[in-house]
Each structure stands twice: as structure tokens, then as C-alpha cells.
Symmetry: C2
Subunit: 259 residues, 2 copies
């Protein structure tokens, strides 16, 4: 079993609100299709759908005004809309994908998943269906509501389902020694240990900061999965064939997280 | 707290596949809005979205061929699409509506809801959000998958949330002594007792048979709620102001289910 997290900057155009990256989505679906049948969960980020709305209404800060309620609605609905486009493209390609809505079945406590029941995911996977989840606006026990990042969700589901491999498909080749967009000396790290992650010092790679943490957040989440014995890698989903090969358990360019 | 079930023949045009009844939806949203704030759950049926697809792939018969998997995907996605249109109209009207996906959080056993956790619904309602659910293609413990009718879902949620009033908004005035579309002598029954329901003999009213049972199914489900002490009524949601008045706990034209 494998889990593929596709970043918001892969499935959407971050610069244009509510715009999907249709060419990339179609190519990725074709790459995924070549690796089927296998048990596979997809999780995608919010990109230009969820993030701007969540930010506008401060959803991740928790409830502090009734004015935010419509923002909670809009954030979730933006994600349903993005998810639906991905599902529809998958169905058109002949993949029995099924949208699973995080806010319908889980709650967080201080922005961390509190309880996660994966029984429905297991049953969907056993049938040969491909669950597609997403970062979402969710109910939070402590702060009222919160934004659950696709990264956190991916790691928790990967651990619960005991997946073999967790692949983070991002818009950069992996983790760099410095920010590759600013520093020409930046080198891709073929692997990074959990100790290096906790030091935090070497972590660069993506300037795309979003409400859920960007590359630093991703690597910290990823470390959790690696600690649980899962093979975790961060790769460039925008480069053809990397996702296909990663899903076929081949060695690919990217950063491996070493326990 | 109240629960409003809107039939598929109210929110969609049953004769035209994938066509919503936009004028009715907008009017109903305005009527609902006039009764807010109050704790209110909306559940809608499938109409020309879910039913034709579910029928085409025999989803309600359970799993018997891998060919059905794409049909399961398509049925759920048709319902997500219908739900999204209703949610978007609600948001446009300023109502913080939130789609809750039944297949993401519940499973059935031989087509009956097995376990229903309403904690998320309760928390959404406490905030002032309006959950909008729907009949859905769901995982079934015994037959693999099944169609969960909006009617069954409405009754189970009404019982769990202990709602005061459960309103079935249909496309006829209520339960008739005969089929009003075939028999000009047919009379609207102002009330119907649970004993009469179990006799089943007097129950007519809607020719719209669908995969989830039509009027007979609705009344049998409704009896369950009445038995639990909930005020249950079947009204014509296509007639202006009936839903508004029913949501304001006023006496309206329709059939009351008497325990």
C-alpha cells in the first residue's frame, strides 16, 4: 500500500485563485494509472483553492467571530471543488476514485488530529477504489475549528494504514542545503536524517509558505512517518515519470527521509 | 433543533439527468434563511443526479463485479456535485452551510445504517453552521456497498440528534388515500398513525419510485422517527411558504405521522 501526497502547488496554479493545473493533473493521473492496480491513497493540498479563503477568514487561528463561519463554509467548499475536479478527471481516465471528506469524519485538537478512524478507507481500498482526500477546514476540540494540512493528514493516515511508502509530490526536487531559488550553491540532499530534521537548520527548499507550514512543516511531519518505519520521500511531482516510478517502488531523484 | 429532508424530486428535475431545480432551490434557501438562526440539518435526495447512475451500475444490489467500482465513484460524485450546487447557493445567500459526506463517516449493513456518530454534526450545529447531507453510495458490511437513502439517513440522524421536528419536503401534499395522480377521489390524509403505516394498505402518494423506495419507503422510515417521539410531517416543498412555516413550528398542510 502507498500514499501519495500531491502539494497544492502541483495540482493548482498558486498565483491564480481557484485555478487548477489541469495539464499536470491529467499527466499525473495517467502516471498513477500505469501503476494500478495497487492499494493507493491520494491526498492533495489546497493551493489557490483552500489557502486564500482560509487566510482571509483566519480559519487556522480558530473561532473568534461569527463572521468566520461563512469563511469556514467557503474554505471547505473550495476544497470540495478542487477535489471534485481531480476525481472527475480520474473517473474520466477510468480510475474508480472516491472523494473522502476529512471534515466529515475527523476532528483536531489544537490543530493536531485527535482521533482518526481509517475503517472506511480500508474498506474502500480492499474493493479497489482509490480514496482521494485533501487538506480541509475541520472542527477543532480546543480552538473551535482549524485548518488540517494535507501533510499532517498524509502522515497520520500513512501510519494508521501502515503504508509501505509515503511520497510527497512537491514542486521542487526535494530538500536543499539552501533555498535553490535564492542560492545557486544550493545542493539537493539525497537523504536527510530525523536528527537533521530536529535540528531544523538545514531545511530549505520552498519559498511557498502557506497557512500549513511549507517545506519545514512537511519535513517535520515526514519525520514522524519515517520514525514509524515508513519509507518517506520528497520528490518533484512536476517532473515527468518521477511519481510513476516512485509509485512502482523504484529509486527516484528526491530526498529520502532516513529514520 | 429541526431536520429538513428535501426530496430528489424537489431539488432536481427528475426527467432531465443532472439538472437541478434552481428556482425551487433558491426559493427554499430564502425560506430557510427566514427561520435562522436555529439548529437545522438539511438532507437532500439524489433525484436525477444519484439515482440514474446508481441504477445503471446496480449499486444498491451490492458488489458483484469490478465493473461496478467506477459506478460507485460516479454515483458518489454525482451526489457531491448536486450537494455542491446547493451549498454554493446557500453560501451566496449568506448561510454558512457545510456539506457533510455520508460515505466518509458511516457504513451500512444490509442497507441499514450500522453505526452513526453524530459528534461532528453536533459541533457544527453548536457553532451555527448548517450541515447539508445527502443520500449516498456507501460501504456496506455485508453486501460490499449500497445506496443509503436520504430518508433513512434523515430518520437516523433525527433520532440521534433528538430533533424536535422532522420535515419531509416532497413534491406532493402528503400521504393520500389513493394515488392522486391516478385517482381523482384520492384524499390527503391530515395524519396517519403508525398502525396504519404497518398495515401499508393505505399508502399512496407518489409515483416516483426510485432505488430507495419512494413514498412507501419514506413513510416506513418516518414511522421510526415518530415512534422515537419526534414530530414528523410530510409536506409539499414545492408550494411556497410551507417549508418556512414548518421550520417555524407552525401548523401546515401535510400529513402528520402520529405515534
Amino acid at each position: 500500500m502507498k500514499l501519495l501526497k500531491l502539494g497544492g502547488s502541483v495540482v493548482t496554479r498558486k498565483a491564480e485563485r481557484f485555478t487548477i493545473n489541469i495539464e499536470q493533473i491529467r499527466r499525473l493521473i495517467q502516471e498513477i494509472k500505469k501503476t494500478l492496480p495497487q492499494k493507493l491513497v491520494i491526498i492533495h493540498g489546497g493551493g489557490s483553492f483552500g489557502h486564500p479563503v482560509a487566510k482571509e477568514y483566519n480559519i487556522n487561528e480558530g473561532y473568534n467571530s461569527p463572521h468566520q463561519l461563512i469563511g469556514f463554509s467557503k474554505t471547505h467548499q473550495a476544497m470540495v471543488s478542487l477535489n471534485s475536479k481531480i476525481i472527475n478527471e480520474s473517473i474520466d481516465a477510468g480510475i474508480p476514485a472516491i472523494g473522502v471528506s476529512p471534515s466529515s469524519f475527523l476532528i483536531t485538537e489544537n490543530r493536531r488530529i485527535k482521533k482518526l478512524d481509517v475503517i472506511i478507507l480500508e474498506k474502500l481500498l480492499n474493493f479497489g477504489l482509490m480514496p482521494v482526500l485533501y487538506g480541509d477546514a475541520v472542527i477543532d476540540e480546543k480552538q473551535g475549528f482549524a485548518i488540517l494540512s494535507g501533510d499532517q493528514l498524509a502522515v497520520e493516515i500513512a501510519k494508521k494504514l501502515k503504508v509501505k511508502r509515503l511520497i510527497f509530490g512537491s514542486d521542487v526536487d526535494g530538500v536543499y542545503t539552501a533555498d535553490p531559488k535564492l542560492d545557486s550553491e544550493a545542493k539537493l540532499m539525497g537523504k536527510i536524517s530525523i536528527r537533521e530534521i530536529t535540528e531544523k537548520s538545514k531545511i530549505r527548499g520552498s519559498l511557498n509558505t502557506d497557512v500549513t507550514g511549507g517545506m519545514l512543516g512537511k519535513i517535520q511531519e515526514a519525520g514522524e512517518a519515517a520514525r514509524a518505519g515508513i519509507e518517506v520521500l520528497i520528490v518533484n511531482a512536476l517532473e515527468p515519470d518521477i511519481i510513476r516510478n516512485a509509485l512502482l517502488s523504484e529509486k527516484v531523484k528526491g530526498t529520502y527521509i532516513i529514520p
